[in-house]
Homo-oligomer: 219 residues x 4
Amino acid sequence: MSAREKILKAADELFGEVGFDAATTREIARRSGVNKALIHYHFETKEALLSHVLDRYYGRLSETLNESIGAGDTVRERIVRMVDGYMDFLDANRNFSRIVQREASGGGNLERIRRHMKPLFEIGKRLLVETYPATRSGELAAEQLLITFYGMIVGYFSYDAVLEYLLQTDPLSPKNLAARKRHIVRVIDLVITAVELEAKQAGKAVKKKPKGRKNAAKR
Amino acid sequence: MSAREKILKAADELFGEVGFDAATTREIARRSGVNKALIHYHFETKEALLSHVLDRYYGRLSETLNESIGAGDTVRERIVRMVDGYMDFLDANRNFSRIVQREASGGGNLERIRRHMKPLFEIGKRLLVETYPATRSGELAAEQLLITFYGMIVGYFSYDAVLEYLLQTDPLSPKNLAARKRHIVRVIDLVITAVELEAKQAGKAVKKKPKGRKNAAKR
Amino acid sequence: MSAREKILKAADELFGEVGFDAATTREIARRSGVNKALIHYHFETKEALLSHVLDRYYGRLSETLNESIGAGDTVRERIVRMVDGYMDFLDANRNFSRIVQREASGGGNLERIRRHMKPLFEIGKRLLVETYPATRSGELAAEQLLITFYGMIVGYFSYDAVLEYLLQTDPLSPKNLAARKRHIVRVIDLVITAVELEAKQAGKAVKKKPKGRKNAAKR
Amino acid sequence: MSAREKILKAADELFGEVGFDAATTREIARRSGVNKALIHYHFETKEALLSHVLDRYYGRLSETLNESIGAGDTVRERIVRMVDGYMDFLDANRNFSRIVQREASGGGNLERIRRHMKPLFEIGKRLLVETYPATRSGELAAEQLLITFYGMIVGYFSYDAVLEYLLQTDPLSPKNLAARKRHIVRVIDLVITAVELEAKQAGKAVKKKPKGRKNAAKR
DNA sequence: GATGAATGAGCGTTCATTCAT
DNA sequence: AATGAATGAACGCTCATTCAT
């Protein structure tokens, strides 16, 4: 492995463990076994190093998700594949969600995260809206669904340290990860069923108002 | 306002804005208009200051949620009230979710967050399990549901800066917050409907509804 | 002596010895016997420390020169007193001319030096112009004279290290300083005589052209 | 232009602009368009690079001054030619006086400057002493005169940035340079007249003019 | 002759914290 | 309760220089 790659690897790990601010170039140098100055030779600043790490992650995530969305017969299956692919990616790159988790709250890399997320968000949105008319607006609007899906998936990884304590088991063990996947797919199925039902009712709507729905919305 | 309170307020804001590590005692002193050394007089260390901020938040959140869960006729209504109360709390204390977001990934305050979350998690879990037998395990197990609910709610606040860009509108505006609430409640309704349906199907299998459970949940 | 003053003294010396860029805060701390961080507590940056040193010097020089120019019966005497006062000042503050020497060539403190020199320059100029009409323009214009006087005086101090080698004696010994003073006063006398002569000839000029002068100008 | 020459040129410029200490090999490499390591291939150290620049300057200055001093009928004319040549040289090599200005105050190149200046100083001294007996000692001693001439000439160039502000015009414009030259020559004329007058008065005292001296000065 | 990679030393600066008052 | 002064440790970063190719 080249020194450059060793630096990237060490930085990725340290950023994930303690966060960007608490990570020091000295420790990155120590872990990667290179001279401290070499970090600044390969990456202008510590910020640039983080940017590099993030760009690499998002590049690979993008590939993964685009592959997932490409395959699959039905839309539901494609969505499930995306969930699957996303979770496998976060499983294989555990620092990623932690880094994003911290940087998304503000700071110099917020803009970078925004720009990386935008196309992924748009793809998901278009897929939902074009398939399920009921997600164009309302309680199950595509935007809301995507935020919910994202929260279900990413939250599980970025809160793993807390969950370990709450659940008294390793949330990232293969068994538990599989359970989480089944849960998420189940919730997504519930939602898809609901939006499909709405579509049907909207089709009949010339005859009948979707009365039951309205009551539910009232709480 | 006492110097002590001014320090807490400034620290809370700064921790929310830039995170614990990037926050400096100098800036906290500047914002609260007190001498830097006074911070250490009132709060032993910077860590202790964060602990104080967190404890205060969790104390108030606990109260809020306990009040929410207390009122309400049906369990569904009590859940909805909790969602409502939680979101209102995060809305009124916007630094809170950001601080937790960052600290939950690790660091010295992870333990603190774990301990604060545990009772809230247990209360929610008992409520679900005692009311809906189907949440005892399986795809819609109480733990999974709580993580999902938490992700739906908290993620929305802690990713507000990113969402602002993705949605091209302020996600924390009253209008958008109300829409988010409706979405979350709707998803919860879908889930409750599902677990109730499962219970009925299970009931048919053993011929009887688990009525006693419902009484137990009321406590 | 307060820590602040000890720092200023050490900084002054070191800046004079090796120049601003080669001077390190570590060495300043070492020489003044204070903690390195204390330098930044009392003086924001290393630059600010230099500015402080310079301001103090120019403040004292200003006083000195204003006192010198105030006393004295004739203008010639007042000029001589200024030369005297200036040289005594540079003798007593040997780092001063070296620091100015280096900073005047450019860098962040050029502006500061410019602003300090301006009023001194204007005072000298006014004194000359109002006393000797011949210095209003021409070969012995006040500006040229002041630059020459400045070069005669300050150059002697800032090149002392070189002069020591060229003259094979300490140029700043009391004896040599006195000799330099006599030389400078003598040259100034020659110049004053010349401008007084020009004034007289200009008075007669209605009758006769200053022919000899013109030849001299031709070289 | 060879890489070596490009490096020398860039170093010369940078040393003149920011001084030796603030100049970095990185910037020299950038400006000359060569690899940083190549600088150390051609010039052992950064110090050696400065030495090269200085040696080149002094070599050319020596030539210039020797040419100037060679031509001319009278000694006065030869002196004037030297002033002319010196100022033209400083005008054509503006970094030179700035570099010398900074290095003459101390540091590793002081010795080099001393050695370069020594012969020039001795030549000037001999010329004066052999021509004008009055410069052998006293208020108008040759050493004093040379320091004064040097200060008048070099100070004008090395303080150009300050003078620009004091005079509110570019001191190095052809017009202003010409004016400075006329001033300097005029002052030198005053001095020569004075030393000649002293010689005459001394001659009267011993009845005879020191004629043989003049021949000796021609060499 | 030329270069990308690498390094030890050291830079100015900032940190949370302590202390004397 | 409050503060100005002080400190040891560590920060990100840059330096001139070296080395292998």
